[in-house]
């Protein structure tokens, strides 16, 4: 494997992705990610000099809404699936 994924990298990506992996999962993730990156490295074979990165396939532009109120006034639907709620708000662990 050309790409060796370190424990620190797995730890760091876990923080970014908010995933806590078990030791077993970490070992597997290191292996899987290394293999995938080796595979992705194949793209390095291609000379992409001067090529514009393509995020949208079609040149669609300027799709807008007019500034007119169309929604709102009802909190029931918003909170319908909330795991925990209070006073029409979502409860989360204290953030301060």
């Amino acid at each position: 494997m050309a790409n060796i994924i370190s424990d620190e990298t797995i730890e760091y990506v876990g923080i970014l992705a908010k995933l806590a992996l078990s030791d077993e999962e970490k070992a597997q993730a290191k292996k899987d990610m290394g293999r995938m990156l080796d595979y992705i490295d194949k793209l390095g074979e291609l000379d992409t000099t001067g090529i514009e990165p393509m995020s949208h396939v079609f040149p669609v532009q300027n799709v807008f809404r007019e500034d007119v109120v169309t929604n709102g006034g009802e909190s029931r639907e918003t909170l319908e699936n909330a795991p925990e709620q209070k006073d029409n708000m979502f409860i989360v662990p204290i953030t301060i």
Partner: protein
Amino acid sequence: MDLLLYSAVELAAAIKEGKATAVQAMEAVLARIGETEGTINAYVTIDKEAALAAAQRTQEKIASGAFAGPLAGVPVAVKDNLCTKGILTTCASRMLGNFVPTFSAEAVTKLEHAGAVVIGKTNMDEFAMGSTTETSAYGETKNPWNLAHVPGGSSGGSAAAVASNECFFALGSDTGGSIRQPASFCGVVGLKPTYGTVSRYGLVAYGSSLDQIGPLTKNVSDCAAVLEVIAAQDEKDSTSIKREDTDFAAALLEDAAGLRIGIPRDYFGEGLDAEVRKAVLAAADALSGKGAVVEEFDLGLVEYAIPTYYTIAAAEASSNLERFDGVKYGYRAQEFDGLHEMYKKTRSEGFGAEVKRRIMLGSFVLSSGYYDAYYLKALKVKAMIKKAFDDAFANFDLILGPVAPTTAPRLGESLSDPLKMYLGDIYTISVNLAGLPAISVPCGKDTKGLPIGLQLIADSFQEKKLLRAAYTYEQLRGAFDLCTDPCRGNMPLRRRTGRAASREDASSLLDWDIRKGRGMENVSEKCIADCNTI
């Protein structure tokens, strides 16, 4: 006759003529589900009462003339990553095990406004990440042709439901082949439209720049009818495109004259199963016999499509799936100490292994210091792949090839090696990268009796060419499914009893023997011959 043997369009016509009702159709489907679902597991959620009530309301509107289209009264199965108002939408994940959307996906709404009636939600790979429907948190779906094999994925539940007559048609989504490949494995028709043709509003995003919703149907005519209903610009989806040419049924002509069809040599190299190769090339010959000009060519860049796809799709997925955090909906870990532990536990417990794998990869390729080398590079290769297709379509109307290198693998075979599973997407993935439309049409079976799919790819917005060629081929091919014209008759759908299916059991509820048996009871010798030679 048995209602289940109708195609979607035929059923709507029968209902319109008063020969059947929407309620009878729904009852027939629910009865069928009652018989087979315990074995197939095509659905995650079915609310019988609600489905029957909706069928009743629809029947009233049909009677009053409010619904008159070619899908009015037809029961439809919806992939479980499409939001359905008031119906559980799980994406086959523990994460959304209790999520009931407050709105419906635009494509579902369009179908309902056309009089189609939702039966329930079909199984899939978790968050559409997978090619076998084995990553579902709600059990694997079995291939109706052989219960020891996978139905393909990620829209495996939709494909299996169509193939086993547990619905009249289904909606799926296709990010890298997720409609076409299961359609191929289950012997049904599946179409991935041009990016932007069907609104993505209400489709739980996996790879937003690649995702498209499309139909899985019993035949090409149904496929055209469904596409005609769901293809529409939607002001809620900025990437949806205004099209004038959505009268797709008009493209159903039995005529391939003048169609220039290119066969990419790079789709027929190493790794392609010999039986698949033979069946696909035979289909090309058949079209050539109907006036198509078939030629080989080199498409190029084929081996770069998979690494490009997995970089882009994983990156987008890592961001799209951030919203599943235990705050607003879905799963929340029971015990945690503080905000960040709540996030981590919720997500680690809520997501399955394949989803976590792709989120990790996606987060990594976007992270500081790697963005240019991986993500930006992939976007550049994507541009090159699009260019390769543009060049091909300068010479050809259609590209013809296999959908997948093999027929459906056995259950459990793919999960052990993710990279190998990813390689199975080689012929479908570049279509999503280039935003093109493509269709999968059954074109034979291998010696194990598993269906083989023919893939036709067209240039952007050329679905009509796809449908015309697919329809022409389908007419040449003759009966394949339970429900195509030559095999239709008053055939009973027999329930196989007394034997529990096991993975080793090569037989199935709907295996070829049953179909052939039915054919023998009712259909002419010619039809049987047709069915066998394909």
